[in-house]
Symmetry: C2
Subunit: 213 residues, 2 copies
């Protein structure tokens, strides 16, 4: 199987979403602060069909991340609108609109079989066999490129708990959230290899290589 | 009161000590890995009366940290030999020997009053009025210099929970410990200012300024 990579924003106290997730606060209270650095970049805005944004070190990093993966795996709630408990309709349409930012085959881990959905360069294939089955299909679609895990939090935690990742890039935002969803909840002890740090004004990007599978 | 600073090593998953602390594993299982980067430096070894060590970016950072504070506050168990449950004799001698690495007045938070102990440039004054009383005495002793919190973990957590710190420098070691003592346990939400990143081969040093007191 090809490389499996994850990049994810988290607070200094280790949360990928704040406490009390709801339709009002899909990322939990304070959770949207973790992503401000990305939302401000030209590369992120372009990938979401928006103009403007800053052309800085963060934007270059986002552009590299967007171009890096050959396929993406995500959870069903992320497909249909975030990671909270409010989007439980299994036939919900993709939250990401008609021009999604992925531009690669996306494999959605779900309990509910349905037909593949095509949205431009992005396709959504629904996999009912669990995370590892989705990863196997994604690896085939990705060819020589790595597979990215997009989220949500429970799928990310599952990949860490199972030691499936080859590379992990964290974006440490300068906030304490005081509670919420912990990235490393249940992850077993491991020695990582520090690959690279990108020092930006409002976020610290640190890439690690794991022992792998 | 002067500035209050903390520098501390932690694992990528946010632990300052591993699980199952004991006399065999005073820093918990795997906890000593968090400090390997520091133990390898010339500056750390010199301050502990040892020869050799690497003269690298980490060593320069350790030298700056050692020279930075005008007084230090620590918990009683750190004074007498680590942060575990095995050093409960309130009259225990300082674990740090006759030439301690602090070289400044040290204020020890304890329930047990005793006479000040002098060890060369380091003195240990025992404060029974709690953390904030110790900080007030330390600030007076420190003059224009900041006060450093040395540990242990519970005193560090208390300073974070009470929002007492002005600066926080973390040394992120490339390990997952999978359990243990969390640096930010119980710390309330906060926006921090990212001051500086020092990128070293085996550890990432990130300094933050807090909103302060």
């Amino acid at each position: 199987m090809g490389r499996l990579i994850l990049d994810i924003s988290l607070s200094l106290d280790g949360f990928v979403a704040g406490p009390n997730q709801s339709s009002e606060h899909p990322l939990g209270e304070g959770g949207e602060q973790l992503h401000e650095w990305a939302f401000a970049t030209r590369a992120w805005r372009e990938s979401h069909g928006l103009e403007g944004g800053e052309d800085n070190v963060d934007s270059a990093l986002v552009a590299d991340l967007l171009a890096g993966a050959g396929a993406t795996v995500m959870g069903r709630r992320m497909f249909s609108g975030g990671d909270g408990p409010w989007s439980d309709d299994p036939n919900a349409d993709a939250w990401w609109g008609d021009d999604p930012p992925f531009d690669v085959p996306v494999f959605v881990v779900t309990h509910h079989a349905r037909e593949t959905v095509d949205k431009g360069k992005t396709s959504y294939t629904f996999v009912t066999g669990g995370l590892e089955a989705a990863l196997a299909q994604a690896a085939e679609a990705a060819g020589d490129k790595p597979v990215a895990i997009a989220g949500g939090a429970s799928l990310v935690q599952q990949s860490l708990q199972a030691g499936l990742l080859d590379e992990l890039e964290i974006h440490v935002a300068p906030f304490l959230l005081g509670g919420g969803v912990r990235l490393f909840e249940g992850a077993p002890p491991a020695a990582l290899e520090l690959v690279r740090v990108v020092d930006a004004p409002n976020v610290t990007h640190i890439k690690y290589r794991t022992g792998g599978k």
